[in-house]
Subunit: 366 residues, 2 copies
Amino acid sequence: MTSNTMSDQTDARIVTLSIDAMGGDQGPAAVIGGLALSAEKNPDIRYIVNGPQDELERLIAKHKVLRGICEIRDAGGVVSMEDKPSQVMRHGKGTSMFSAIDAVRAGDASVCVSCGNTGALMALSMVRLRKLPGINRPAIAVLWPSRNPGGFNVMLDVGADVRADEQDLLQYAMMGASYARNGMGLERPRIGLLNVGTEEHKGRAELKAAHDLISLAAEDANYEFVGFVEGGDIPSDRVDVIVTDGFTGNIALKTGEGTASLISSLLREAFEYSPLSRLAALLALTSLKRLKKRIDPRRVNGGVFLGLNGTVVKSHGAADAMGFSAAVKLAFQLAQSGFSDKLAARVASAATLQQDAATTSDNKSG
Amino acid sequence: MTSNTMSDQTDARIVTLSIDAMGGDQGPAAVIGGLALSAEKNPDIRYIVNGPQDELERLIAKHKVLRGICEIRDAGGVVSMEDKPSQVMRHGKGTSMFSAIDAVRAGDASVCVSCGNTGALMALSMVRLRKLPGINRPAIAVLWPSRNPGGFNVMLDVGADVRADEQDLLQYAMMGASYARNGMGLERPRIGLLNVGTEEHKGRAELKAAHDLISLAAEDANYEFVGFVEGGDIPSDRVDVIVTDGFTGNIALKTGEGTASLISSLLREAFEYSPLSRLAALLALTSLKRLKKRIDPRRVNGGVFLGLNGTVVKSHGAADAMGFSAAVKLAFQLAQSGFSDKLAARVASAATLQQDAATTSDNKSG
């Protein structure tokens, strides 16, 4: 980091985030706009911005608030939405995404934010940051609008991996609890395991096994296990963290988004139906805005990659400046709480506990 | 059937449905109320009503429109929501559910309607009606509000079985196409296979295999295969029938319902926020009712069990008279179109085709 572009490095409250400026549907202007929005609200934030130097300098210069808090790291290559993860893994060096992740790897930033290609971002993150010791499959966690006081629940995995066995699901429970504690301030989060019924005899074999493992670990990992939950419980206040495999989680996430989007457009149609309904809509505008704010996907923008040496926040590919700013805010919160280190410690202690348990039961059976 | 209670038996338009009057959350009065609502709109409908004779006689007598079009079959036992399917399978004889299914088995009615325990209804239907030759796993299909002109898409399986291999998924595609043709009047339905991405290399192994099978069968079975679809496509106009396994389908269905219910209550809260917003709600009432009508689950009430010798329509357990009437309407449409026979013929011809294909490839390899 060069001292003439970054200041206040020694202040403990200061948090530096690494930003992939390229690869989003709306281009780097939306990303830089989002950085400016966050900086206006938050004097403790600093950025390492990765992408083509000239273009970024020009965009950053447009926002006074970004003066002196950005370090640009030049990277000319861009990962597109169409690029295959396997190719990016092999030939991704020199891209803004690679550079953004490497700033976390080098310890210059604790969290990386990107709105690029999800598969490529996960693949590069796995290769460059490596999995935490004891983690088999990393997961992507998202926030989901809910009836809980905080307004959101956490669900994971929503698509890092289409498979998950009972050990993976246990690790998701651990990581989800740690995320809810550090990202949402919940002291003792309630964990639910997604299934097709709440009775213990229902569902697939690996879910029954995971039910037992997650239940056993609850005390040590300081979460409450509420057992099986159903799709209808995802937005409920019965639970804070919903654990599932990446296939099911991805389908649920997109089904929820699709349903919300259908209702929004039907609501719009209903209010455009006649002159009277258009008048009603005008009067209802404040109320409708209040609703929209509550479920606006831009406000909950940011999937978090868990289980790596470092945290990566994936912003929606179509995010505008406001959406990207929400992802930056989430990244800041996680960085400031020391989430990456706490998660690593939690996973390490869980692995030790499991080894101890295995040793004990070996001794017993021996 | 006794001639003094039922009339017009010889008219070809007349359709007789078998009704399980018991086991719903709202009791038999809601069921009988639903029968009356349907009879008011439809002079061609007749009912075999299964349940406790005295209670049913009293309830039916309250509705003039039901006079002379109901035959009561006395059955004192009731399957409750808490009963385990395995127990009902062994000891279900004498219940209204058993009696309702047996009227289809005997050929006295072509479709059965029940709002009782889903698991028990499927178990009893499997035992009494038996699977169609060539069907490995029956499926439950539901209608889903969508952007299509008809207002709905079909999704199956939503929970008959938590597993499905590629052959099962192919059969779901066949059955779903037949349902869309006969229940929704779509000549050449578009079929999509639910996955976590639309690229052909994505997802689980059995999905790639199913992709090939469903694609190969499209021409003969007279449907269009649009390939993989995602959760967000379930309410879209890209597709008419969404094929998936019962675990994923059940999670998607309940997630969609949960999301819609959350948005409805947030919308209500938004309009109750202040005196001005309450006034706006008053003016917007017609528009909001228009929206509600479009996504009201009572209007799309009815999961259909496919793949048995006879059709069973499962109404929602909490259905009121209007909801039950929607299930009755769906059952009537399917019965009148001769759906059960057409589906059986379709499955039989598919099985023959597959055998032919297998024989041909055997010959080739031999």
